[in-house]
Symmetry: C2
Subunit: 214 residues, 2 copies
């Protein structure tokens, strides 16, 4: 998935009629399926269109090019995860820190596991040009929300250390990905939740300590 010089993220047409919305939905689902069955290298717009049961010309009605199709899916997914984290942060304001951490971790994992097919398939394109930047961009939203929430913790104060927050998200991302790419069986997902909560709680307990000793 490469950066295109055109307005890569602008749809050519936005669906108006209901049948068009259905078509765009089918294209999205088909894209995920082809990513999973053929990988990014073998994903062609023709193959996606066929899988979706539409013509390739229709696909280009809604997406100016192949890259914008893929980018749209990635962005949508990242937005959903970020929104889930932000909501959890909002709900957990004022709680003890350990509880805060637990809520956020579980929200993150739940969002990642809502559709394991989507999460898993998008890793195939997320590493190439443009992907990491988008991940970082939406990640900033989540980190900001977490930071704001932590400020309201009645039992701990985090130093103005943004790195610790980044670490938490990076660890969550790494762990989730590891599980997703290994098939994400229910048992694994349960383990992931439990251990990730433990990992982040124990880390945050230490990361918030230095200031408490003053």
């Amino acid at each position: 998935m490469a950066q295109n010089e055109q307005t890569a993220l602008e749809p050519r047409k936005t669906p108006v009629q209901a049948r068009a919305a259905v078509t765009v939905g089918a294209i999205s689902e088909a894209t995920i399926q082809v990513l999973l069955s053929h990988g990014a290298d073998r994903l062609t717009t023709t193959r996606v269109a066929k899988r979706a049961g539409v013509s390739v010309g229709t696909l280009y009605q809604y997406y100016p090019n192949k890259q914008s199709l893929l980018f749209a899916l990635l962005e949508d997914h990242l937005d959903k995860v970020s929104a889930a984290v932000e909501a959890a942060c909002e709900r957990a304001r004022g709680k003890p820190m350990a509880e805060m951490v637990k809520d956020v971790v579980e929200a993150f994992v739940d969002a990642k596991m809502a559709r394991t097919d989507i999460s898993t398939s998008l890793y195939r394109i997320a590493g190439d040009v443009g992907g990491p930047a988008l991940v970082r961009q939406t990640g900033l939203r989540s980190q900001k929300a977490l930071g704001a929430m932590l400020e309201t913790a009645p039992d701990a104060v985090l130093r103005q250390e943004k790195f610790a927050i980044q670490m938490v998200f990076a660890a969550m991302a790494g762990a989730s990905r590891s599980v997703l790419e290994a098939g994400a069986s229910p048992a694994m997902v349960r383990n992931l939740r439990d251990h990730l909560v433990l990992l982040c709680q124990s880390y945050m307990a230490v990361a918030t300590q230095p200031r408490r000793l003053r």
Copy 2:
């Protein structure tokens, strides 16, 4: 980067003369550079050959196809990281657990940061077909080594819980990648080392506790 039905990982020819070894080295370096400058989608064998200062036919003397070129680089890199972890585990046998964890984390980070260009560029191909499986495979070596080392800790006993070990590596991978894709400035790398040690130590301190309470 997709799986090819041919013997994708077999070189067509192994360099014998010194000048051939130099050529293969130049091809590897050029591949990294093209991955960084153009991304995976825009990486072509022709472009790599030109960047390396050799003909495209020469490239195909040593690699049967494009995919095997990329796979070879990825595998080499993962092997180096794994070897570094294994060596650290060997050296840290019998030490207190916190020290063990510190040594391993630092070995991992050092291996990842030895050549940030290589580490960073390979993320561009590591997510597509075949990459995650390879990551998992070499990851098993590292996990095995870590498990064996932890068995020799004089002050802690880890339950026969392989998941905790996987978590440590997943967290390290996630955090390292986050820093690498953000440019890996010296300050960031220092922070990464410190915080990653803290993260893994605090987690392992808790993960080894349950058995201690018996």
